[in-house]
Symmetry: C2
Subunit: 356 residues, 2 copies
DNA sequence: CTGAAAGCGCTTACAG
DNA sequence: CTGAAAGCGCTTACAG
């Protein structure tokens, strides 16, 4: 539409307004130093012709640099946060030619103080935008307020925090991710079976918000369909298979009616490895996230289904939205919910090479 | 890596080689009219410094226009092919600033001759690349050969054809999409249930390749798990509910053990509408594609699961790959298989606004 | 075959 | 407050 105005340039505007290109440029960018009169004239024409700047020319001519910071948990290869990091890198490399650089700041995901330390000197450097993994709500809120004061835009990933001024959130609706896991499990269970919910204990870390929300959604669905079985709980340790095996042996011996299992974070391989070792093929296990240790067990048939949340896209879209906001004045939706993907053994392979 | 060479410009190369920028430009683009000696010199330096052209400057300076043609079936709002069309449009609008235009050519998907007619005068205009929906294999092969002769690159979407020189294919592995449907259905069926496979008859159109492959995958999975039920078949008409209802009434009356249904193209709403009208809630129905009439029934619980194949991305990636090939000399993978998505009532809504 | 110059649409000092 | 000019990195005639 408006094809006729599609290649109006700044010089054209300048001529129509009877001013120089410098003046037009100043009003376009609100750089001031323009008389009220000229400003009005130029703005009127800008609107009339629906002026669309040529972005390539702009970025060619401009020496302006943008610097973004992404604050995310550190990770070992194959862990969940690696995926978010990859998405960030992809966006960064795509936007490189627009003079955008992205620095990643890592913190220990089990240590609230580490987050605060990482963040403390953030504003010493030049920062034009921030992406934040919202694991520690209180700390994130403090940081958000500081960014507000400095008028630096920021986006959240992983889980949302209400009441803040984030430019946007990219992540899933954890509650529904719990509902879906429940559906996947109960569809494959007779209604007299029991379900085991395992929690993974980690030094000094209580359940994440995300985990809690998934659990709520899960339990809600069971109630709604009138699931008749019992729910058992067990606490496992992330790095202590001996302990875990003993606990699980006891539990399954005492409750042979347990035919389903669920873990609300990305570590369902812990339970999976036990089931595999014991050859307990009749227990259906559902978990979260396409990390290597999980996908391996999914393809072997030990895990029945995985629920995934496109972490790569969270990182990618997060950085992209900062770019679009700053460079192109486009504002994203405030809440952007990723698809909740259902992975079975049969469709797994097409996801593995298609993460973005 | 090689940060030190990251902003080497043509003038730098020119100086290093002791020639003018014009000469450097000629060797970069193989425009000829350069002495063998200078060519060698320049090429050596180009390689040494890992020269990366500034794409924005290039496209700013260049008046070169690219014109792509996308040949796809015509569609009414809400039909399957609309999604592919949307993906094409999205790519086109993103690439507009690179002086790329995309024209869509539509043909009647039930009429082989219509395809040939549409395509006949394709080469009269200027065409730099073509995207083809491969419904009619023979016609597509003829067209492909003509494009080969004219050295015009082309990509396939929807289903692949082997033995041609397509730059790339974007679509799914239909056979596995059949396997997955079988898994989704049988997971929810007792092994003594029967399954109804409905075929949709359309004037003068036999089953698509895609439909056949899905069916093969479906049946193979049933065999592999030793499914004990019977398979029933019925032919329905796309626009004749009266006929369909009579046929289905007979069938279900005669075979009350039918507890599962499948249709191998995007029209499973036809069977869905029948089940809904008859209130037959115990029959599980699995189908394909996120078109409106299907998603409506999925959210109502009439359809149990939909298998989807990211048509928007097929269109989008197809056009993008032509751009990347021509503008940036990047060659795509020859076969690009989209994820096969599993949609249940519970995760549907997050897909509807996230098609790309 | 080769090079100097103009131009793509915008931004950035700079002089006034 | 305003405008003329140079420059971003590349391509495109044009003259030789």
């Amino acid at each position: 539409m408006d094809k006729e105005f599609s290649n109006i340039r700044i010089v054209d505007i300048a001529k129509m307004a009877g001013v120089s290109v410098g003046t037009v440029d100043r009003v376009i960018h609100n750089r001031g130093r323009v008389s009220e009169e000229n400003k009005k004239k130029v703005q009127a024409i800008l609107e009339m012709v629906h002026y669309q700047p040529n972005l390539m020319a702009r970025s060619l001519a401009s020496k302006k640099q943008y610097h973004f910071v992404a604050i995310i948990p550190s990770f070992a290869h194959g862990e969940y946060w690696e995926a978010i990091s990859e998405g960030i890198d992809k966006a960064a490399s795509e936007m490189e030619s627009y003079n955008i650089t992205v620095t990643k700041l890592f913190f220990d995901q089990y240590n609230n103080k580490a987050f605060d330390d990482t963040v403390r000197n953030l504003l010493d450097g030049k920062v034009d935008g921030v992406l934040i993994a919202t694991l520690f709500a209180d700390s994130v809120i403090r940081l958000s307020q500081e960014l507000d004061n400095n008028e630096i835009p920021y986006v959240y990933v992983d889980s949302n925090i209400k009441g803040q001024h984030q430019l946007a959130y990219f992540g899933t609706e954890s509650y529904d991710a719990g509902v879906i896991a429940a559906r996947l499990l109960t569809d494959r269970l007779s209604s007299s079976s029991d379900i085991l919910m395992a929690r993974i204990i980690h030094s000094g870390k209580n359940d994440s918000n995300q985990g809690k929300n998934r659990r709520e959604g899960f339990c809600h669905y069971l109630k709604e369909i009138g699931f008749g079985g019992k729910l058992h709980e067990v606490e496992l340790k992330i790095n202590d298979s001996v302990y875990n095996f003993i606990k699980l042996d006891e539990l399954f011996e005492a409750n042979p009616s347990i035919k389903g299992g669920i873990i609300f974070n990305s570590t369902c391989y812990i339970l999976g490895n036990y089931l595999k070792a014991r050859g307990m093929k009749s227990v259906k296990l559902v978990g979260y996230d396409l990390i290597e240790r999980n996908t391996q067990l999914l393809s072997e048939g030990v895990i029945t289904a995985l629920v995934a949340q496109r972490p790569e896209r969270q990182g990618y879209d997060g950085i992209k939205s900062l770019c679009n906001h700053l460079l192109f004045k486009q504002n994203p939706e405030k809440v952007n919910l990723m698809p909740i993907d259902i992975l079975l053994k049969e469709n797994l392979k097409y996801y593995l090479n298609n993460k973005l």
